[in-house]
């Protein structure tokens, strides 16, 4: 066998770097959509590698729902300082205050869907023509159909049935004024690949991913963290558990799992033995079978 082949992680890395460099070459004003979660952290790490020894030539954009884990915000600010890149924040609270969106009502109210408006407003007002995301095709069935370069019309909408064919590695980012692209450099990565890569590259991630003691409530099959936003239902009780989070979203809807994994290596082991998908703990995806597809068409991440 020839020695000239890459192992699968190196090949995925090389593909992602290639995509990031295409973005830089094909767009005027790209940003990285940074959520503070592991996928966008990996994308940011890849961008660092892609342009080294230059700095990352994009701003990071964060859609702030106001319902954050404080750890996420701290992590974000530290990273921005270390990288020396610009941060753009789109605030859901501001969108609410300006009457652009209305807060959901009821027990399961979240700000998840409200992010769409804030995100699209931030893209428009900052004249962003390409938003780079950490979406992966293995995450969810609607995402399995995404292109690397995914076109959005001037309302920010995705038309899954009318996507541009994507062949070889020839990416077509051409668009008209007002339209934009979403680009997903780690499309072909699985959750396991992300953890193996974080482990291999020693990438720093928020403490929330590691097992820690926390006040939580058992709700829709997972441990929801106690926070100022949590309203207890009858029969619900706050308890302290050793948990960790598998994905990071709003503090109001991100469920933790009981775990002792306190290193990346242990997490990778734990994930490889899991029998539930990572989004299985997110109530935003459980609303209906096509919840993700419906949100994505409107312009969701």
């Amino acid at each position: 066998m020839s020695k000239y082949y890459l192992n699968y992680l190196d090949e995925l890395e090389s593909e992602a770097i290639f995509v990031l460099r295409e973005v830089w070459a094909q767009f005027q004003n790209p940003v990285i959509l940074f959520s503070g979660g592991k996928d966008s952290i990996v994308v940011t790490h890849l961008a660092r590698k892609a342009f080294y020894p230059s700095k990352i030539p994009f701003a990071l954009m964060h859609v702030d729902t106001g319902h954050n884990f404080p750890e996420t915000i701290k992590f974000r600010d530290d990273l921005i300082e270390e990288l020396g890149v610009r941060l753009i924040v789109g605030s859901v609270q501001e969108s609410i205050d300006q009457g652009r969106v209305a807060e959901e009502k009821g027990k399961n109210a979240t700000r998840n869907a409200l992010q769409i408006t804030t995100l699209l407003d931030a893209i428009e007002s900052n004249k962003v023509d390409c938003a780079i995301g950490g979406g992966r095709r293995d995450e969810e069935k609607a995402r399995a159909k995404e292109r690397f370069f995914s076109h959005r019309d001037d309302f920010g909408q995705w038309d899954p049935k009318n996507q541009r064919p994507e062949l070889w590695n020839l990416f077509n980012g051409k668009h008209f004024e007002g339209e934009h692209f979403r680009v997903f450099p780690i499309s072909n990565w699985t959750e396991m690949d992300v953890w193996n890569y974080i482990n291999r590259e020693n990438i720093e991630i928020p403490s929330l991913y590691f097992a820690h003691e926390r006040e939580v409530v058992w709700r829709s099959n997972s441990w929801i963290p106690n926070s100022e936003f949590l309203k207890l239902d009858e029969g619900e009780e706050v308890v302290t558990k050793k948990i960790r989070f598998r994905t990071l979203g709003d503090i109001t809807i991100t469920g933790g799992i009981e775990s002792d994994a306190d290193t990346v290596e242990k997490i990778a082991q734990e994930v490889s033995a899991m029998r539930q998908t990572e989004r299985g703990n997110r109530s935003d995806d459980k609303r209906s079978e096509t919840a993700m597809e419906d949100r994505k068409k409107q312009g969701y991440f």
């Binding site: 082949y5 080294y52 020894p53 399995a144 064919p165 062949l167 020839l170 051409k174 899991m274």
Partner: protein
């Protein structure tokens, strides 16, 4: 997982109802790549639809319309890993726009699985799929003769299909063809060896995919480095750094190699090959690196760095096999943007030499209108030379797409002849 595991990309092809979705579901299920919540979701959908048992096809039929109509409308990607390899599946639909979608899925594939219904044998659709696999130069083709349970697992039925396939595939350029009798529904010879077909001596499908030799699928001879962008750091430390960033398209480049920059023709030597983790001595396809040269030459995106003793052809008149991908047909002598590696030029389709009838493989020089799914040999004229290799020698430097400037859509994909 072993650190030296490779990635294998494959695509599936077959007519409607040949069992593509069931096969992929079976591969994922039997290799334990399906999570409980996914299984629960499709169990409940199967029940709602009144299916008995779990309909494994639901794993891949993702979008709302597809699930409602029970069809696959676009390319969907699936992933699974075994202790031996990581796999990426491009699941493409078998009916409407099959050519367009299969061409898309095939463009990056190491292998194609072509499904044949054992009851019906090789049909026109099978021939089309084999033709596209050869046109796109997919290195390995596996013909899965499915639904063997419906023909009493008969060896005769299996041999009949092989005979039919070989009869017409002799006209095609497929390098490596294998045949496996399977039942996607029951799992025979998919992951586990069938107990119903003792007469079959070969390996089950998964084992075949895990062990097939793919290191030679990429051209390792002709060094080609298309420049994506130039890195010019603003920092004090790297003030004079000028790195050419790109991904090696084929071949191997080493520090000290004498190289030529195309199309300008300037000659220099590779001073360093850099990555974030430090300098490397050599770079091979498909590594993404940054290259510096001994001499200060003007190089920008779209240029190609190649070894001086092995150059591609710089051409403005290019013959390609073009597959039309768009709803609106090609306009005679209209201008398009042509994309080739990192290069982009204006182009015009000067002449349609012939159209291929993909059912008969006959060439027609009379009907030369190019509509969706048509495959034609054409002559394209570009405003500036492209540095091309024949597609059969180099899938990266031998491929192009055309973009319609009026809509910005990707309207055609082409392979340099």
């Amino acid at each position: 997982m072993l650190d030296n595991n490779q990635l294998l990309r494959f695509t599936t092809a077959g007519s409607v109802d040949d069992g593509k979705s069931t096969l992929i579901g079976r591969l994922l299920y039997d290799s334990k790549s399906i999570f409980e919540d996914q299984l629960e979701a499709i169990e409940s959908t199967s029940k709602k639809k009144g299916h008995e048992g779990v309909d494994l096809a639901l794993f891949t039929d993702g979008l709302r319309d597809e699930r409602e109509q029970g069809i696959t409308i676009d390319v969907a990607y699936r992933y699974f890993t075994t202790p031996k390899r990581k796999f990426i599946i491009a699941d493409t639909p078998g009916h409407i726009q099959y050519t367009r979608n299969m061409v898309t899925g095939a463009s990056t594939a190491n292998a194609a699985i072509i499904l044949v219904d054992a009851r019906h044998g090789v049909i026109e659709q099978t021939k089309r799929h084999a033709f596209i696999a050869s046109l796109l130069q997919i290195p390995h083709v596996i013909v899965c003769i499915n639904k063997m349970d419906l023909v009493d697992f008969s060896e005769e039925a299996y041999n009949k299909v092989i005979g039919q396939f070989e009869e017409f595939s002799s006209k095609l350029l497929v390098k490596d063809v294998r045949f496996i009798p399977i039942s996607a529904l029951l799992g025979d010879n998919v992951v586990n060896r069938s107990e119903n077909m003792d007469w079959y001596q070969g390996a089950p499908l998964l084992h075949t995919l895990e062990t097939m030799h793919i290191s030679s699928d990429i051209n390792k001879v002709d060094a080609r480095f298309p420049v994506q962008t130039v890195l010019r750091p603003q920092s004090e430390e790297f003030r004079d750094y000028r790195g050419y960033a790109g991904r090696v398209a084929s071949g191997v480049l080493r520090k000290g190699d004498e190289v030529t920059v195309m199309p300008s023709g300037f000659v220099s030597k590779i001073k360093s090959i850099d990555s974030f983790s430090g300098e490397v001595e050599e770079a091979f396809a498909p590594m993404s690196v940054s290259i510096t040269l001994e001499d200060d030459i003007d190089i920008s995106r779209g240029d190609m760095i190649v070894r001086s003793n092995n150059k591609p052809e710089a051409q403005q008149d290019i013959e390609v096999m073009l597959c039309w991908l768009n709803n609106s047909p090609a306009k005679p002598r209209a201008k398009y943007t042509i994309k080739h590696t990192s290069n982009e030029q204006k182009a015009m389709i000067n002449e349609v030499l012939y159209k291929i009838d993909i059912n008969t493989l006959n060439r027609s020089t009379e009907d030369t209108e190019m509509s969706m799914n048509d495959i034609c040999k054409v002559r394209i004229r570009t405003t500036k030379p492209l540095m091309i290799d024949p597609y059969r020698e180099n899938r990266t430097t031998g491929s192009i797409i055309l973009v319609d400037d009026a809509t910005n859509e990707t309207v055609a994909a082409g392979m340099v002849v």
